[in-house]
Amino acid sequence: MDVTVPPIPPAYDGYRERVRAFVAEHRPDLGWTPRAGMRVPDDEADVEKLRAWVRALYDAGFAVDPPDGRGDEFESRILREELGRAGVPYVLGNPLVAGALRLFGTDEQRRTYLPPIARGDHIWTQLFSEPDAGSDLASLTTRADRDGDHFAVNGQKVWSTWAQFADFGYLLARTEPVAGPAGITAFILDMRTPGVTTRPLREMTGTSDFNEVFLDDVRIPAGNVIGEPGQGWRVATASLATERGGVGLGGTADAVAALVGMARRYRRGGAPAIEDSAVRQDIARFAARSRIQRALGYRVATKAAAGTVDAWDAPLTKIWYSELNLELCEYAMALQGPVGALVEGEPLAHDSGRWQDAFLYARAYTIAGGSNEIMRNLIAERGLGLPREARGS
């Protein structure tokens, strides 16, 4: 057993200095406050600043995930640390399609689309869910009818991240008039194609991080199919599993440290809350769950490297993270006492209301990308081999 993270050699100090200097010079000055989660700026101007920032990083050789797959391990760690500290997004749009292209795309598709994603030149959205196909994604009804060397697409999508600013969409549509997963095909859709209408949704957070997308006789070249026609469910499942695994990778150790800080500042029973045994027990429970999250991550990474991933690994990781995240936010608000009821914009709010925003956004993790109820089905049915739930008629 070994999970040692080797210390970064002193020889890399110069690299870190170069990154810091670059960030200091190029970090965009946004009108918008980045928040927890996959969040989208309010206006085009900020998006353009972010594109310029990602492009500058890429052109300077500071790509976190270089499209050629090469890259120095230590440089990559330094880069992530420093860009994390910068507090500005350096991945734009939903990168879900990258996994799909790597696994199922043609060489040409990979060459055409992967580098612009890394360079911030292309922003992508996913066009998966529909108003009547949420948990039951395989019941989607958006049609893509073959018409010569094109497909004509009609239907409505929802929960499309970044779609209001996206250049391309990763689309699932039905190419065969059969029910269920069999007739679904994955496409690359140029969002500027006539017939594509995007309408930002406003979510309970008060922000617009998702969109509705209406597709009205949208023509897609046949060459934009990812994988084979009818293979779309496999393509999507593989990329969603990657996303679910990814959900668990957001660390929660900083949040636990913040709880300690709050417990020092706010009071309970006439003394700092950190002296209250009940608060200490609660903080310890969160610290344990946070550390276990990291250990579960080590486990999954080990299994991935060995090719022994179980069907339950991704859903288990998603459940663990999303519930921990939600409860951390709830507890942070409770620790703040009445201040917990104050939000961004209110000068008295704690830490600019970030916990309240994170609390409201937390349901994106327990619902989106397959709700936790669906995750439990996956664990039970695919992981444990219990009988499948019956479909209705």
Binding site: E203, R267, R268, G269, G270, P338, R391
Partner: protein, 387 residues
Amino acid sequence: MNFAFDENQQLLRESTRRFLADRQPLSAVRARLESASTFDRAVWEEGAALGWTAMLVPTEYDGGSVTHQPLVDAVAIAEELGRVLYPGPFLPTNVVADAIAREGTDEQRKRFLAPIARGETVAAWCLTADGTPDLDAVAVTASGAPGGGLTLDGVARFVHDAHVADLLLVAGRTGASVVQVLVPADHAGVETRVLGGIDLTRRLCEVRFAGVTVDPEAVVGDGARTPDAIARSLRVATVLQAAEAVGAADELFARTVEYAKERVQFGRAIGSFQAIKHKLANLLVELEAARAATHDAALALADGADDAEEAVAVAGSYVRDACAHLSGEALQTHGGIGFTWEHDVHLYVRRARSEQLLYGDPAWHRERLCTLVEARVPDGAAGAGAV
């Protein structure tokens, strides 16, 4: 035994429900969500005519309750107000009315109670600077003024509905003790600011006092009794708040059950999936327990029972935790649609989370509850054991 609203209370509840459906549906509140105030004074005055602010006011001051248990009557109303996330000052106005009725001088009762009962005067209660019920956190000083009056300086925060109040009941510190005084909200030196809160349907405020001098006649009650009077007001507030929370939870639960029956996924209503069925069954258990705890507390407080404080501590801890939890699970059951701004479920989530932390948070009430339970248990109650 009758552990249910009696006939008159049921009539009161039904008339309140019909009135609100007609005059103050949640859609009407929604239209004002992003305004400075969500309060509709016309609706409030009509509500007062239905008795909203009369229950805790004696009949000689235009008050009157429908039964001999005014607080239970008020709970029947509060549940209906909670159901539509009513944005008005029902809770603070009734708390202040109760305080004046019990502690005020004859003169104060005459002057303030009838206008409150008639809906003309809206009242708010300014207690502490941090929103906790801890008297150490009273941050308004009340220093002696020429002529025997008091001058108020300082701040109170997390004050329900102060922005629409006409009258403020203000706790102030005089040396080591605390007094409460009545101050017109438009008095010079009083400044009210609405706090940016997670609850979009009801407002919390900060109220600042700068050299606000009042007559000696503004002092409510005898100084030595003030901590007890404040404790009483906290109990009334806790019970009314619990009733609002139960009403809101009841409405949200009913909507969630309906949604589960209608929403089809995998070719079946999602309510036919056992995971959803058991989730909803668990929520019903929580909801019914919260309702029972609230009625238990209302009854004990209305009857002046020996264990009323214990019953209130149960309500103050269990009910708000349960209702906040229920709101989150209702959201989860709604899935993506519940995550949208347009859907009402987040308004219930926001209300439940905000109220959970006021008038003593659940941990505060549990600490109190443990102390009360301890006092009942004689030494040696653990049974024999030798190590």
